[in-house]
Symmetry: C2
Subunit: 418 residues, 2 copies
């Protein structure tokens, strides 16, 4: 069977399975999650072994150590995957919830009820720990899932998916509910994205090239988990101490994450007092600074920022710094260069804060705290399948509710339209 036929069959089978997945009870889904946690623990040896082959190949091909670290599965990481499944099993089931209800004057009772979306395809890059968690969030919310992971993690993903399929079968659920597209290269992704009759949603997680391909090719609705170019604006009315601490946290606490700060904007009226202290702190934490001309007048040993530094996602200990004349200039900069992800203002002036929070067109806007809080766990959702940088369907951290749609159920007793 060629790859095209194989992709098509996997997708058709997932669609067929999605009708029964949509009707699973919470208990059935949770029992599967708990069983899978045990099965992952039992199979730690084989998972680590298969992953080792991926890692060896990645090392031989000269992949960076950061990427190899993300690829690697250890006993401890597998234990964490199992724990995460147990946590998902404790979350409420969103399916079946009545979101809205109304009795009309003619006696019709209209209920808006949460239902699964159907078949969701997750297209992502190297990290194999996404494989299990993403699939299980889809299943907990009653969906079937088509996974397409990066080729670097191929063997790791195949063994993880085969364990998931076995756990599904042992839990009386169809193994077709999880499929992994392993072959066909980029062409397989393009082919997948045309199967609009059988796939209901695509969630791409990755860099520009992946997102761009998906957006240009897909005939299926897409919710993008795109990069986070997050800004913090230190206003002239900021509390100095707080600003220093929050900016440091947003930049260095975990610089490789999408909610880390990439650009610091500083109000001109406090730049000469604030920037030297900030620069000293950044220097102490090995943060490379790239400043605009005005920032470099104040802190001369900063590198010069080029135009491409604005809106750049470093994911590293590097920061772009710009002095701006007003909150409106800060808002304009963010709406031009940002990625609608997470942006913060530090100010004691409530009116300035309100202006920033209203006009910055991002999923998460923060007042006096760190952009690092954009996270399903930190928001109390108990899980996260991604962070939407789109405005349709879901914005910001996405968890179980965001993996559902709804339908209207209308009960009558013979009403006719007049």
């Amino acid at each position: 069977m060629n790859w095209k036929e194989s992709v098509k069959q996997d997708v058709k089978r997932a669609k067929a399975a999605s009708f029964s997945f949509s009707q699973l009870t919470r208990d059935q889904k949770d029992q599967f999650l708990q069983r899978l946690a045990v099965d992952l623990e039992k199979n730690t040896g084989i998972i680590v072994k298969e992953n080792g082959k991926d890692v060896a190949k990645a090392k031989a091909s000269g992949l960076s150590s950061a990427l190899i670290d993300r690829l690697m599965l250890t006993d401890e990481r597998i234990q964490k995957m199992a724990e995460s499944l147990r946590n998902i099993s404790l979350l409420a089931d969103p399916v079946g919830e009545v979101i809205w209800e109304k009795t009309r004057p003619n006696g019709l009772v209209i209920q808006k009820v949460r239902v699964p979306i159907g078949v969701i395809s997750i297209i992502y890059e190297a990290r194999p720990d996404v494989t299990v968690e993403a699939a299980c969030l889809c299943i907990k919310s009653g969906n079937c899932v088509i996974l397409r992971g990066g080729k670097e993690a191929r063997r790791s993903n195949l063994v993880l998916v085969s364990i998931m399929k076995e756990s599904l079968a042992h839990s009386g659920m169809s193994p077709d509910g999880v499929a992994f597209i392993a072959s066909g290269g980029r062409q397989a992704v393009k082919y997948l994205l045309k199967l609009r009759d059988d796939i209901d949603l695509v969630i791409p997680r990755g860099g520009y090239s992946l997102i761009d391909t998906v957006v240009k090719t897909s005939e299926i609705p897409v919710i993008k988990h795109y990069k986070g170019v997050c800004h913090t604006f230190v206003d002239r009315d900021a509390d100095d101490e707080m600003a220093l601490k929050v900016c440091l946290n947003a930049k260095v606490q975990r610089p490789a994450t999408c909610n880390a700060m990439e650009t610091l904007l500083v109000h001109a009226q406090i730049a000469s007092s604030f920037l030297p202290k900030m620069a000293e702190l950044f220097a102490k934490h090995n943060v490379e600074m790239r400043g605009c001309p005005r920032a470099r007048t104040i802190v001369p040993d900063m590198k010069e920022a080029a135009e491409h530094d604005w809106g750049y996602e470093y994911l590293d200990l590097i920061i772009a710094i710009r002095v701006v004349d007003s909150v409106d200039d800060a808002i304009a900069h963010i709406n031009q260069y940002g990625t609608k992800h997470s942006d913060a203002i530090i100010t004691e002036n409530r009116a300035t804060a309100e202006r920033f929070l209203r006009y910055v067109d991002s999923a998460c806007v923060y007042h006096n705290t760190s952009t690092r809080f954009t996270d399903g766990g930190q928001f109390g959702f108990g899980a996260e399948i991604g962070i939407s940088t789109d405005k349709i369907h879901a914005r910001g951290p996405m968890a179980l509710e965001e993996l559902t749609s709804y339908k209207y159920i209308i009960h009558g007793n013979g009403q006719l339209r007049q």
Copy 2:
């Protein structure tokens, strides 16, 4: 200026205007709506005159009388447009509503707040009455709108849009908030659909060819208002009287609408008693019947249904009729041939009804009533911009809330991520 440059500039201007539109108060928006209602009434003469040119051209080119009727604007229809704007002005403003709020253990206060989507493009076919209502629903929900109507209504649309722009200017709002793409033919639509940095959502309303082009071309999120192939299933436990009345209503009350019934499914156990009575009623209302072989055994003077009759949207006094052996066969037929729009079951058996309502994967599922109720007005939404046949973002009748997104606003006092 060539059409491409002109489309690009219209869209850029709408994007720029969208920041101020998102901040309009309810009063500002409602005053504009009321002013526009008056302006339409005042300009009835010129609207009817321009529309007359469209109608004359349409007649000369041999457009069907049904389409010419949909194209025509009369004094009465313009009065109805004005009334509809006054009704929209009475609806609550969805923008700014706090949908969800939580204080986290670390003291962060997270609010999920309804915000406009931004710039919405409506791509539709002939009807010029859509122009004003769709644009005003977008504006009431704080959005800017790029309209692309059918070429048959070009002059009518241009005069309506120019009146809207004047009313916007007189209300202190930017006329850039409404744009109409009049030139460039099909190429303009394709070009528009690539402008993903400036347009946030596309709503196509029309037939298969339009929808297919949009879905294949768009790099912007799309919510489809696609056709309605609606079914009614008369179960073996149906109340005979009710089934006859509801089926007649669903088919003949206004057959040209998307929520009219196109296919009747009848349980085999009651087909021989029910179908002759139904056929007599249909015949009395000039409904042409096209039946499966089993239906034709019972009512021999039915035409024979071909495979393409299943899933066909007649929008006319024609119905396809199929005898099925069970509720599960009815569900399977609907999920295969339907368009996820509106489907009904007539039964006195609650368990059978529940099964149908759960398994039929459509936006609106009805028990013991007519599919004709799928309508924003009938649902009590006070308006309707379309009926989504998609599962992402919005399903079924779409009104003001469905034209919004949300953002998370987080207030802190210096919290850091650990």
